[in-house]
Symmetry: C2
Amino acid sequence: MPDSNLPSDAESRNLVTADRLHSAAIHLLRRLRRVDEATGLSAPKLSALSVLVFGGPVSLGGLAAAEQVRPPTITRLVRELEAAGLVTRRRDKDDKRVVRLTATEAGRRLLQRGRGRRVRLLAAWLELLCDSERVTIDRAVGALERLLENARSETGSDPGDGGE
Amino acid sequence: MPDSNLPSDAESRNLVTADRLHSAAIHLLRRLRRVDEATGLSAPKLSALSVLVFGGPVSLGGLAAAEQVRPPTITRLVRELEAAGLVTRRRDKDDKRVVRLTATEAGRRLLQRGRGRRVRLLAAWLELLCDSERVTIDRAVGALERLLENARSETGSDPGDGGE
DNA sequence: TATATTTAGTTAGCGCACCTAACTAGTTTG
DNA sequence: CAAACTAGTTAGGTGCGCTAACTAAATATA
């Protein structure tokens, strides 16, 4: 059964799981992108805005870290969000290099609306499943969140591959 | 759809699940992209190649449908995969408009290696979880696959939103 | 005090993925 | 055979992600 001692069995199971998880994530996002765009914000912008709305004011670098992208990417994203009036930038008084980001009221509203639309579609899809499957997905997402959180330090652990 | 304006308990639960699922998918793929690139193939190419390796020979349009992208996107993807010697294109004898795609041996090998690397990382992450969580994720992925399959026809159901 | 180093963020420029619109070339239909 | 449809390609545009090179502010050092 599920025990970590047998490398081949557990590993190959994880291999299949990982592969399908990867594929499912790709296809899910491709679907949702359309809805996100219909709301006027792309998925990355919605994601970044979400951090600002729920995570309070953060620095630009903090947002980049939270979104796991490089600073230039966040700079451009934030510039466009600011141009749309969804976030405000302020230089920190104590450290004038730092840019403090805050979501505006409009940003909060738009996030809720965008989220509402996306979620309405996703929820409609979830309706196609039975209750136990929904619970399973919900719990799996929780596990994934923890995984992504904890795996932060593990990213570099890449022993070479076995070649062939 | 269930009913009118009142956000019932089940609906708001789905809302939260959907939002977290979306976010988790974004972050998961951002992480994995680095590994995919390290293998020499991007995530979309790996995904397309995977369809060819496991799904047998398909037409270009069939691959586009499977990957849920538009034909031009697949055309470019396949051109690059072909240039890399990973897939072959053949005009169908019966219908000369159709392009039949097949993965080469090199393509199969490369897919397995790329998959191996990605999966090794993902499997290492999964090791951070307990067994029941892994099982949960595996089952959730299965449910998601069915969901994405069945939701194909539901994509267009987008009524306006109810403001806030 | 003056200079070197580090840190936060920006600008410039590249590649990739996705799209729509317009086209070519086969296939089916009237 | 001409008209309509279908499979795939080409052209052109947008957005996201990256690295490299830069400015400006803070800090460390002599």
